[in-house]
């Protein structure tokens, strides 16, 4: 059984937002909404400054609070660990939105709750998610953590990485290479 995850190399990400545009196009995200976004974090004292650029999205957490609090089971985890929302089961109670420490979800104008799906429709065809496939600096890797020979497994073994707010306790699957 695969376990999908994504890594984003913070030294290669230039914040071009191609991933944002690609996601918008591929998933027909309504204008005014976004499933992924670019965060720039600057710290230090001029001129000794440190800049980190990250592309963020739903982290498809292993211990997803959004799945736990969903009263109808619309929020569920499929094979591979991808967290999805079944549009026909979602009642729009927004409990999952209140549960997400990453503020990754939003209410779609059609009524159900929406978010990044790791482009599961592409993954099922053996392709990478749209954002990963367009990244001009190849900062993003998507793959199966259960496969020790996959690029993502090798990278996570050899490079220093972090996740966002691990203390929230959700075991996210989006890793940031440092």
């Amino acid at each position: 059984m695969p376990r999908y995850a994504m890594t984003i190399d913070t030294k290669r990400c230039v914040g071009c937002a191609d991933c944002v545009v690609a996601c918008q196009t591929e998933n027909e995200v309504p204008v005014g909404y976004c499933r992924d976004w670019i965060v720039q974090e600057t710290s230090g004292v001029f001129p000794k400054l440190h800049l980190e650029i990250r592309s963020e999205r739903c982290n498809h957490c292993e211990d997803a609070p959004c799945v736990r609090t969903c009263p109808t089971g619309a929020s569920h985890i499929v094979e591979g660990g991808i967290v999805l929302v079944d549009h026909d089961d979602c009642i729009g109670c927004k409990a999952c939105i209140e549960s997400c420490p990453y503020d990754a979800r939003f209410v779609h104008p059609e009524g159900y709750v929406d978010k990044c799906t790791f482009c599961i429709h592409r993954v099922q065809e053996g392709k990478d998610p749209a954002c990963v496939s367009v990244c001009p600096t190849h900062a993003m890797i998507f793959g199966d953590l259960e496969d020790p020979n996959s690029e993502i497994s090798r990278v996570l073994r050899t490079k220093q990485h972090k996740v966002l707010i691990p203390e929230a306790g959700t075991h996210p699957h989006v890793y940031y290479l440092l």
């Binding site: 914040g15 937002a17 944002v20 005014g32 909404y33 976004c34 976004w37 670019i38 965060v39 720039q40 974090e41 600057t42 710290s43 230090g44 004292v45 001029f46 400054l49 609070p65 736990r68 609090t69 969903c70 009263p71 109808t72 089971g73 619309a74 026909d88 089961d89 979602c90 009642i91 729009g92 109670c93 927004k94 409990a95 939105i97 209140e98 549960s99 997400c100 420490p101 990453y102 503020d103 979800r105 939003f106 209410v107 009524g111 159900y112 709750v113 966002l164 707010i165 203390e167 929230a168 306790g169």
Partner: protein, 321 residues
């Protein structure tokens, strides 16, 4: 310096810059749910103590309002849903890890029970009412026969109704201000307190008013104790909890909470009821009204503050200044 910004532009409706996906319907329902829990709990309690004639307003009259309050609350919840036509999906499954699922099923039990309970006392409260239906007569006899088991069930389900609303909010660990196990008991106590306040307003019997005032006084004391411990717990906890506490200790909710909820909604009614217990003549209704208004403001503040407390993207709030 430490500067964080979202450079690709993000302004998801209802999510950014501060989460406000849950508006007025949720606190309104939380208040009405707590109020109904309090009303039905005391009604069932004094019924089982065979004091239904001693406390007419508490046992017989107040529950008449319960189905109406629940209806308004449920309609508010339905209005809040963004995928309204699918609301029935709530009842196609029970998910034990989701407090929202517990709530849906608890309401589906307590709503018919509250109607049956009101039906039991309908002839006592409205003596002129009569119906030309054998079926209703049989139903009335049936309800009278099962009054005691219904009362015990109501005792249990009303506690669940009162406490689950707090447990529901505390289950959202993404909202640090709600993420405390004190919230469940706090909401339960507040709900029971608003229930007693409602009975005080309905009652015309001095003896009944005094008893419910004394009960309310103790409930308010517990509530104040829990609120102090809520903040003590946050200040002794992790950074996000400390930040959540600071929303109320110098932050945007300080004035509203400590004036309208704590002082006018809890402390002043407590003092009025305390002095009344000591024999002074004071307007009990004033304390009751203050408790009810304080109760609803409390829920509005808690729901709003919870959505203002977060783990990430705190910088978004500065876009409002």
């Amino acid at each position: 310096m430490h500067e964080i910004e979202i450079t690709s532009g993000r302004m998801n409706p209802e999510i950014d810059p501060i989460l406000h996906a849950w508006g007025w319907p949720i606190p309104l329902y939380l208040f009405l749910g707590g109020l109904v829990a309090g009303i039905l709990f005391f009604s069932a309690l004094f019924y089982l103590r065979n004091e239904s004639d001693k406390y007419k307003a508490g046992v017989k009259i107040a529950p008449m309002f319960a189905p109406f309050f629940l209806t308004i609350g449920l309609l508010a919840l339905l209005y809040d849903l963004s995928h309204k036509l699918y609301f029935w999906k709530l009842f196609t499954t029970i998910r034990l890890e989701s407090p929202m699922s517990w709530g849906a099923w608890t309401l589906s039990i307590i709503f018919p029970l509250s109607i049956l309970w009101s039906f039991l006392f309908i002839k006592d409260v409205f003596p002129s009412i009569s119906w030309n239906s054998k079926l209703l007569d049989q139903l009335h006899e049936l309800v009278k026969k099962f009054a005691k088991p219904i009362a015990w069930a109501l005792l249990l389900v009303s506690i669940i109704l009162g406490i689950y609303t707090g447990i529901l909010l505390s289950a959202f660990n993404a909202r640090p201000f709600w993420n405390t196990s004190i919230l469940g008991p706090l909401f339960l106590t507040s709900g029971l307190s608003t229930g007693t306040a409602f009975v005080i307003l309905l009652s015309k019997d001095h003896h009944e008013k005094l008893l419910f005032s004394r009960i309310d006084m103790w409930l308010i004391a517990v509530e104040m104790f829990l609120i102090i411990h809520l903040f003590m717990g946050f200040l002794a906890s992790i950074q996000v909890h400390e930040d959540a506490a600071h929303l109320f200790l110098g932050g945007p909710y300080t004035a509203v909470f400590w004036t309208f909820v704590f002082t006018l909604g809890l402390l002043v009614p407590f003092l009025i009821e305390l002095l009344e217990w000591r024999g002074y003549k004071l307007p009990t209704s004033l304390a009751a009204v203050l408790v009810l208004i304080g109760g609803i403001i409390f829920r509005f503040v808690v729901v709003d503050a919870g959505q203002s407390s977060r783990w990430l993207y705190k910088f978004m709030e500065s876009s409002l200044k």
